[in-house]
Subunit: 405 residues, 2 copies
Amino acid sequence: MRNRIFPAVIGLGYVGLPIYLNLQKKINTVGFDIDKKKILNLKKKIDTNNQFKKKEFFRHKINNFISNYLQLKKCNFFIITVPTPIFKNKKPDLRPLLNATKIIGKIIKNGDIVVYESTVYPGVTNSICVPLIEKISKLTNKINFNVVYSPERINPGDRKHSINKITKVIALENYKIKKRVSFIYKNLTNKLFFTNNIEDAETSKVFENIQRDVNISLMNELYIICKKLNLNYENVIKIAKTKWNFLSFNPGLVGGHCLPVDPYYLSYIAKKNKINTKLIIAGRKTNDLMEKILYKKITSYLKKKKIKYNDKLLICGLTYKPEVADLRNSIAYSIFIKIRKKFKNCSGFDPLIHNNEVKKFSILNKVNNYKKYKIIIFITKHKILIKIYKKLIINNKKIILNCML
Amino acid sequence: MRNRIFPAVIGLGYVGLPIYLNLQKKINTVGFDIDKKKILNLKKKIDTNNQFKKKEFFRHKINNFISNYLQLKKCNFFIITVPTPIFKNKKPDLRPLLNATKIIGKIIKNGDIVVYESTVYPGVTNSICVPLIEKISKLTNKINFNVVYSPERINPGDRKHSINKITKVIALENYKIKKRVSFIYKNLTNKLFFTNNIEDAETSKVFENIQRDVNISLMNELYIICKKLNLNYENVIKIAKTKWNFLSFNPGLVGGHCLPVDPYYLSYIAKKNKINTKLIIAGRKTNDLMEKILYKKITSYLKKKKIKYNDKLLICGLTYKPEVADLRNSIAYSIFIKIRKKFKNCSGFDPLIHNNEVKKFSILNKVNNYKKYKIIIFITKHKILIKIYKKLIINNKKIILNCML
């Protein structure tokens, strides 16, 4: 290694923070985020996403967490892990990605390497990001600097497939930098898979999530059919599973930052090229439909039980999936907001939400007295909530509605 | 066993014949089909579906093959394996099932057992078939006779999952007959899975195939997107497969009697109950779209190569999937028919089609001289055709179009 490599991780959310912390164990790394409050928390070893405990801030250096982009100048290897959400009209919202790219454009130097990890549609890296860096920096890709695409495969709440146990795809077009990229990424996992085509890697990433989204939506569609036709969904699946090639997916409320978003990224670029993505979009619509169905189930139940506007209700489990503290695109949280509009004293409760976050979302992360609620509804199936549910069922005569799928 | 059980298999196609032959190995069994020509062939140990060789007609008894339903009277255990296709408007065509049921109604006696193996939508067995038997026979279900549903899981061309290696689901509502049903079915496989709900078993069967159909359609949708966006589909999949939970399905021409049909069965009953099956139908449409795409690919190629109306063409591989002799709902065969309309001297060739069947479909199952064809197109990927393709590619300077997915 001719020059010392000094990496920086841009964007310290669900993807960036694990990368930062794992790199920092082995090599001095900078963590950058435009969110100053987040940086202040991280300096104090506080992860408001509740993914990491204080003791996991290994080899902690306060000054490695920065929010002033000028301080990135000392780094020469940039890993971009900013979110790529969608607008309300379902079109890709590339603003965080473009802002991060602009920052790179301003501070990039000869010989630097930029790795994009954010999920995008095919073509974004080479047709949008690279030209933007070149324009701002007046440098030339593959001559003065190099761009790599390495799709993130962080699965929040899944300790079995943590970053150091999975295969990391690295798409680079200039094999001269392979050694330097390996030097950094081998600190994360020793399973590196190299490919020379960035667009193929961009496509593979969105497609992986689309396959999951569509398969869950198929289970949701079957679940809806079974409920409406008075068939026993659980028994149907038990029977189907006796076939050698039946795939085990569960119906559920699909939320978060990947599955409800990525299909729209691929269908956006497909539509732009006049390609139909009927199936992908049908999957999305079926999964979104679950919100309506669950909302209706709950409100019908409240009506049946003659719950009044002033009655105290509690909705437990609000994040988008079990064992995760993320409320983004959460169907459970969205249902809670809607119910609260109809019932003034409806409280939301999720024990996984960090103390620093409860105010922002006006929910509770602790409940001392369940007795004061007239009805308690369970949605997201956190292990701890299953325990609470079982306790309440045994000890109380309270009205409890189990909506945990 | 108080009385001797004497089984009959009604319908001797892709499902019925394997059941008949496997039962007949162990217990004297009658094979019934309304197709007299088929019965004549079977008497001579000829399986025009090319699934079984003469030596597989074990313990062969000419008189066990019958087409006169009155001869079924001597039997007391009926296994119905007739096809359940769809009409052109995609609605279930239950005529073969109803005709078989009417025959049962005419010959059923006290104590008899009827097993339905045909794929149906939930409710067909109990709400349509049982009342029909009762009406014709004047006997009562669960008192005078019993009905069982055991969904067939025959996978044509798949020797790995032959009937004796797979789990057989048996749905029966009257456990008093379990012993007698086991006595017959344990001759086929020792993996029997009992359930007490016929509708659940009916649903599980259609759903298994829907899951496969939707997953293949998703690969087709991605394949189309990759081709149109100039992405390398094979490389995209190679990358995606490095993820721990990526599912390995291939794009392809979905045909035959199950996948293109079963989704319409479930969506028929869903629609009747005002339930939307957007995703299931989107899967079907994408899979059907492949015919149009492949047809266009071939005709554009023929145009580019300036092939004339009189030129001799050969299309190789016409059945609905590799290693199967079945032309039903075959996209390859349908494309051949369309091309022949545009090119007078277009011949179809499939080496798997039985000698007795070639005339019926006006195709060849043998080609001696490939030289006389100006262009040769390969569609269905039979192993033997891959060999022929490779030979032709090396030895000839002929124009060859490889459409094998």
